[in-house]
C-alpha cells in the first residue's frame, strides 16, 4: 500500500543524508500513482499534489525522523478536508411534502437507494411516499412497487404511458392531500450527454421544487466521474451525492473526483443490496480506502 511504498522510498533516500526538495518530489510521484490507481481523476490528482506539495516540502517533513509518516499524515488530512462537509445531513427544512429527487447514470443504484432512503426516513419518524418516475426501463415501476411492498411504504401509482414530469407533479399533489412528509422520486438512469433526458430532469426539478437533488454514483466509476458529476451539477445544481456499491473492493477515487469538481456534500453510501444498507458518509474512512 501507499504507506509501505513511501517508507520504501525514504529508506532508499536515508543513505543520502538530509532530505531535500527533489527527493520529496520522488515520494509525491508515488502518491500520484497511488491516487491514479485508485481511480482519482488525472486533473484532480494534479491539483491535489499541488495543494499538498507546499506542506510536503516544509520543515515538518524535512526535519522529521519519520518523513514517510509525516507525508501520509498530510495527505490524509487533506483528503478528509476536501471530502468532509458540515452540511451532510438530508435537508428536510421545507413545507411538507419535501421532495427528494434521485438522479444518475444507468445502473448506479437509484431505485434501490430510493427504497433505502424511504426506510431511513421512516425510522426517523417521517412518512415517505415513493414516486416511480422511470417510464423507460422495463419493469422499473414494478421494481419500486416491490420495494415499497417489502417495506410497507406507499408507492404512488404511475404507469409507463405517463409523462415523468406529470407523474412527479401529480405525486406531489397527492402527497400534500394525504399528509405525506417526503416524496422520494426515482428517475430513469440516463447519460449526462443526453440533452433531451437531462432537460426532462430539469423540468421535474422546476415543477416539483425538491429540497434535495441527489446524484447517485457508483463507487467504482473511473476517470469520467469528473465530467459526469460536473454535467449533472451544472444542469441541475445537485444538493448532494450518494455513493453506492461501497461494499465492494473498489478504492473509490471517484469520491474525491466528484467532491473536488462539484463541492457538493457526499451524504450517504450504499453498502449492500438490502434496504437497511445505507450509511452516513465518513470522510476519514473514505480517505484510508482511497489510499489503499
Amino acid at each position: 500500500n501507499l504507506s509501505d511504498k513511501l517508507h520504501g522510498v525514504f529508506k532508499k533516500l536515508k543513505g543520502h543524508g538530509k532530505l531535500t526538495e527533489s527527493n520529496i518530489k520522488a515520494t509525491l510521484r508515488e502518491v500520484k500513482l497511488a491516487l491514479l490507481e485508485a481511480d482519482v481523476n488525472f486533473k484532480v490528482v494534479k491539483s491535489f499534489i499541488d495543494e499538498i506539495s507546499q506542506k510536503a516540502l516544509g520543515e515538518e517533513v524535512i526535519l522529521s525522523l519519520t518523513p514517510a509518516q509525516q507525508i501520509i499524515k498530510i495527505i490524509n488530512e487533506e483528503l478528509i478536508h476536501i471530502m468532509g462537509d458540515e452540511d451532510s445531513d438530508l435537508n428536510l427544512k421545507a413545507v411538507p411534502p419535501v421532495g427528494i429527487m434521485l438522479v444518475g447514470l444507468q445502473g448506479s443504484g437509484k431505485t434501490t437507494t430510493c427504497g433505502k432512503l424511504a426506510n431511513y426516513l421512516r425510522k426517523h419518524g417521517k412518512s415517505p411516499l415513493l414516486v416511480p418516475a422511470d417510464v423507460y426501463r422495463p419493469a422499473a415501476i414494478e421494481q419500486l412497487k416491490t420495494l415499497g411492498k417489502q417495506l410497507d411504504i406507499p408507492v404512488f401509482d404511475s404507469n409507463i404511458k405517463q409523462n415523468p414530469v406529470k407523474i412527479c407533479k401529480a405525486a406531489k399533489d397527492f402527497a400534500l392531500k394525504n399528509a405525506y412528509d417526503v416524496c422520494i422520486i426515482d428517475t430513469a438512469g440516463r447519460l449526462h450527454i443526453d440533452e433531451k433526458l437531462m432537460a426532462e430532469l430539469k423540468s421535474i426539478k422546476k415543477k416539483v421544487g425538491p429540497t434535495e437533488v441527489l446524484f447517485v454514483a457508483d463507487a467504482m466509476t473511473g476517470q469520467e466521474a469528473v465530467n459526469i458529476a460536473k454535467t449533472f451539477d451544472d444542469i441541475l445544481d445537485i444538493t448532494g451525492v450518494i455513493l453506492t456499491k461501497m461494499d465492494g473492493d473498489a478504492r473509490g477515487g471517484a469520491a474525491l473526483s466528484i467532491k473536488h469538481i462539484t463541492g457538493k456534500p457526499i451524504k450517504f453510501i450504499g453498502v449492500g443490496e438490502k434496504l437497511n444498507q445505507l450509511e452516513k458518509f465518513h470522510p476519514d474512512r473514505m480517505a484510508s480506502q482511497i489510499l489503499g
Partner: protein, 276 residues
C-alpha cells in the same frame, strides 16, 4: 496532442494524460509509454504523428487477440450471463436474444435472477420484445432449479441457444460466488463444458475495479467471453486493454445503448480509433 511536430517530455506527458483519462490504468500506460520511449531513443520514431500511429498499433495488437466472435458450436448451447450489480446483464440478454433470432437460431431465456425486485418481470419484457422463449419459476426460488429446468426444456424442444440471466453480485461476496459456482456445476453436469459460454458483463464507466472483477470471476468460474456495455457514454472503457493483455479473454460484444438493436460485435480497430 498530435498536431505538434517534435517528440518531447511535454508530448509524452500529454499522451500519458490521454491514456490515463481513458481508464487504461497506470501499469498499462507505463508499459505503453516505455515501449514508445524506447523506440524514440533508438531513433525509430521521429515525429508526433509517427508516435500516435505506433501507440495505436501497439494497443491494437493487444486487443486484436481478443477479437473472437461468439460461435454457437453445440446444441443446445448455454450462454451464462454473469457480472456485478447494474452493469447491463439483463438488457444485454434481450439484445443478444434478438440478434441470435435474426441469425436463425431458436432462443430460450432463463430467468436465473430469482432474487432482485422485478428482475424476472424485466427479463420477461425483453423476451417478448425479442420474441423468444422464456422460462421462469417463483420469486426467491432456487436459481439452479431454473437453469436445470431451462436445459431440460431446451433439450426436449430442440432449442438452439439458452441464455441464462443471473443476479448481479459483487465478486467480493463469498457466499454469492459460491451460489454462482453451484449454478455452473449443475450446467456443466447437464450439458458439458463445451456447450457453455460464460459471459462476464463489464460496465465501460467502471475504473480499475474491472480488473479485480475479471480476475475473481475468472478464478471462481472461468470466463470465456466479455461484454463491455454503456460505450455510448463518454467513458472509453480503456480498462479492457490491461485486461486483454493479462487475461486474453475474448471481448464478444459491446453495448452502445438501451434499445434492442444496441449491440455490436467487438471490433478492435474501432475501439482503438475511439480512444484517440
Amino acid at each position: 496532442v498530435f498536431g505538434k511536430k517534435k517528440i518531447d517530455a511535454e508530448l509524452l506527458e500529454e499522451l500519458e494524460e490521454l491514456l490515463i483519462t481513458s481508464d487504461l490504468g497506470v501499469k498499462t500506460v507505463q508499459k505503453l509509454i516505455a515501449s514508445v520511449e524506447d523506440k524514440v531513443s533508438r531513433k525509430l520514431l521521429n515525429d508526433a504523428s509517427e508516435l500516435k500511429n505506433t501507440l495505436k498499433e501497439d494497443i491494437y495488437q493487444i486487443l486484436a487477440g481478443d477479437e473472437k466472435p461468439l460461435e454457437i458450436t453445440k446444441k443446445p448451447y448455454l450462454v451464462m450471463v454473469i457480472g456485478i450489480n447494474g452493469v447491463g446483464k439483463t438488457t444485454t440478454i434481450g439484445k443478444l436474444a434478438s440478434q441470435l433470432k435474426a441469425e436463425g437460431k431458436s432462443v430460450l431465456l432463463a430467468a436465473g435472477d430469482t432474487f432482485r425486485a422485478a428482475a424476472i418481470e424485466q427479463l420477461e419484457i425483453w423476451s417478448k420484445r425479442a420474441d423468444v422463449g422464456f422460462i421462469r419459476q417463483a420469486q426467491n426460488s432456487d436459481p439452479a432449479a431454473v437453469i436445470f429446468d431451462a436445459i431440460a426444456s431446451a433439450k426436449s424442444r430442440g432449442i438452439d441457444v439458452i441464455i441464462a440471466d443471473t443476479a448481479g453480485r459483487l465478486h467480493t461476496k463469498v457466499n454469492l460466488m459460491e451460489e454462482l459456482k453451484k449454478l455452473f456445476k449443475i450446467a456443466r453436469r447437464e450439458l458439458g463444458e463445451d456447450h457453455i459460454e460464460t459471459l462476464l458483463v463489464l460496465d465501460a464507466t467502471t475504473g480499475q475495479n474491472a480488473v479485480s472483477q475479471v480476475k475473481i470471476f475468472h478464478k471462481e468460474v472461468g470466463i470465456t467471453g466479455l461484454v463491455v456495455t454503456k460505450l455510448d457514454g463518454t467513458a472509453k472503457g480503456g480498462v479492457i486493454v490491461g485486461i486483454a493483455d493479462e487475461f486474453k479473454i475474448p471481448v464478444r460484444y459491446i453495448g452502445i445503448g438501451e434499445q434492442i438493436d444496441d449491440l455490436r460485435v467487438f471490433n478492435a480497430q474501432d475501439f482503438v480509433d475511439a480512444l484517440f
